[in-house]
């Protein structure tokens, strides 16, 4: 994206509620924002370290449950609960990273799936804490000073701030020494290690930041839908994140944003034409087609089509 293009996107995002007349459209924009945070989070692992986490919904769910439980049971206010959700998800990321990043490729995928499976079973069976399959209704709306962010427009700006923050965190990370180390490890791990890049250290760091961002997305989701149930651990969420990252362009900063907007708006637009099952079916087919015809994603393809832009 050129500098001017970037500013155009920022201005469009800031003024979006003025253009969107219907609350439903604002709702779609909010969901796109939450998924943008999640997609950026997954992209840190999948795109920059090359390790696919198929248990990413676990970190999302941990964030959602932490935030919901703290505000409901301990009556914390939104902001400390948000911070705790980010912190706890990050801690889970540290744990999984320390344990699972000894493994690579398929084995890492399997450990992350299993971790998500266990956490999901805990949310279903740990009824005293989580209320089991019935879930936790009545999660309070966030408060900002004297205001309660009840309107969709207000929540949109909260989510937009989270998207911007996540983007800046990712950019800072990716363009630093850490990001270069991650890419070096992805491209050739023995070579990177031979020049002194500590693989475990950097991969775990990426896992922590990635999990923390997913926790942020989870907390925002919980306080927006005001309801958390074991469905937050559904594999569908992980699949959606993977599609967004792969379609947008893994290992690019703007790819997950493009993917998130595309795959939130498109299904909503097609909702009248096709049922949810058809959409999931086409996600599967699309993933196969992407691997065959657009393996690097939309953003790198556009960048190649318009040289001079990045």
């Amino acid at each position: 994206m050129t500098r001017a293009g970037g500013w155009l996107v920022v201005v469009a995002a800031l003024t979006l509620p003025l253009w969107l007349r219907s609350p439903y459209h604002v709702h779609v924009a909010i969901m796109a924002g939450i998924f943008a945070v999640l997609a950026m989070s997954l992209n840190l692992l999948l795109g920059y370290t090359g390790q696919l986490s198929l248990g990413h919904a676990a970190f999302f769910g941990i964030g959602a449950y932490t935030s919901a439980l703290l505000t409901l049971k301990l009556e914390w206010s939104f902001w400390p609960a948000l911070a705790a959700a980010v912190g706890l998800a990050g801690a889970a990321g540290f744990l999984i990273g320390r344990l699972a990043l000894k493994l690579r490729g398929a084995y890492f995928v399997l450990v992350t799936i299993s971790f998500a499976g266990v956490i999901s079973l805990v949310s279903i069976n740990g009824i005293e804490l989580t209320n089991g399959p019935l879930g936790l209704p009545g999660v309070p709306a966030p408060e900002l000073g004297p205001w309660t962010l009840r309107t969709k427009t207000a929540y949109y700006y909260l989510v937009l701030a989270a998207v911007a923050l996540s983007y800046l965190v990712c950019r800072r990370l990716v363009r630093s020494r850490i990001g270069r180390a991650l890419v070096a490890l992805r491209e050739n791990e023995p070579l990177a290690e031979s020049v002194g890049v500590d693989a475990t250290h950097y991969l775990v760091l990426a896992a922590v930041v990635s999990a923390a961002l997913a926790g942020l997305g989870g907390s925002l989701y919980a306080h927006y839908t005001r309801f958390v149930s074991p469905e937050v651990f559904l594999f569908t969420y992980t699949v959606t994140m993977v599609i967004m990252v792969v379609a947008g362009g893994k290992g690019t900063l703007s790819g997950p944003l493009v993917g998130a907007v595309l795959f939130t708006v498109l299904p909503e637009a097609l909702r009248a034409a096709a049922s949810w099952q058809w959409q999931m079916l086409s996600y599967g087919v699309l993933l196969v087609l992407l691997v065959f015809f657009l393996p690097r994603g939309i953003v790198p393809k556009l960048a190649a089509a318009f040289p001079g832009r990045r």
Partner: protein, 290 residues
């Protein structure tokens, strides 16, 4: 004591079908280097074919099982030809993404075709359990156990005693050398994927009448197959058989003595622990197949 024996017997019935799932997956994983996340969908396919054959077409149990295996193998073969063969020289991550896509597509196609409501497969066996000393077993479960054992034995014969099996073992040991010796790698890969998918479909057709049939049943089946492969080591038929039995028994014991809500957690915990503590599997002999 009687309770323990009963759990062990129930575990054996589950374990036999888990072993079938695991054998299919370990061959595909070990020989083709493809992480087949769609494996459980062939299990689901087998269960639905068996449902259609028994409940709708009204054929007998053996014909239904044969139809399930044939459908699984045919679709597996098609899948290999159309999707995996063009990507044979791509990285393992690329084919993994493709198989994740196949998984999602197949599952939702089943959801569209059959609806989300679980179906039970009618079977001709009496429901009164056979009492064998301290333990009791439903005739259907005994039948499933015997059939699973038969299929495992047949797989072993195929790998050990046939020309195709020898070519498969050669390909597992060294693909390039096998190719130089005149083994058609493309054909071996197709045969392996069809064979593994057929076994998964057989497992679905066998367990379908015991449990219920529903579109997302393959998710857990995939993960259980992966736990079996991880327990048994890559490409090892004996390992997969032992791993399957071990997982079945561990699940029964976990459900019986710990908490039935966490039955499915056993497989997850096994994946995590074995991968972290002994990544090559409990019975691994990496250099061998079968």
């Amino acid at each position: 004591m009687a309770e323990l024996l009963q759990h062990l017997l129930n575990g054996l019935v589950l374990g036999g079908t888990y072993a079938l799932l695991g054998i299919g997956l370990t061959l595909i994983f070990g020989l083709m280097n493809v992480v087949n996340f769609a494996h459980g969908e062939f299990y689901t396919l087998g269960a639905y074919v068996s449902f259609a054959a028994l409940a709708l077409a009204g054929v007998d149990f053996f014909a239904a099982l044969a139809a399930a295996i044939a459908a699984g193998a045919a679709l597996g073969w098609l899948c290999e030809i159309a999707l995996l063969r063009p990507l044979r020289n791509e990285s393992i991550d690329t084919t993994m993404l493709v198989m994740i896509g196949v998984w999602i597509a197949m599952q939702n196609a089943e959801l569209l075709g059959w609806g989300g409501v679980a179906k039970s497969i009618p079977h001709p066996f009496p429901t009164a359990p056979l009492v064998l000393g301290p333990v009791a077993i439903a005739p259907l479960r005994l039948f499933v156990l015997v059939l699973a054992a038969g299929l495992i034995a047949a797989s072993w014969l195929l790998i050990q005693k046939t020309k195709l099996g020898r070519a498969m073992r050669a390909t597992f040991q060294d693909r390039d050398t096998a190719a130089l010796m005149g083994v058609s790698i493309g054909r071996i890969h197709s045969a392996t994927f069809a064979f593994g998918s057929g076994l998964a479909a057989a497992a679905g057709a066998l367990l379908g009448p015991i449990f219920l049939v529903y579109p997302s049943m393959g998710d857990l089946a995939s993960l259980k197959a992966f736990s079996v492969v991880i327990l048994g080591g890559l490409g090892s038929l004996a390992g997969a058989t032992l791993g399957g039995l071990l997982l079945g028994i561990a699940e029964e014991l976990g459900a019986g003595y710990v908490s039935s809500g966490y039955r499915d957690a056993v497989g997850f915990v096994i994946i995590i622990l074995v991968l972290l503590l002994r990544p090559s599997g409990l019975f691994a002999r990496q250099e061998r197949i079968a």
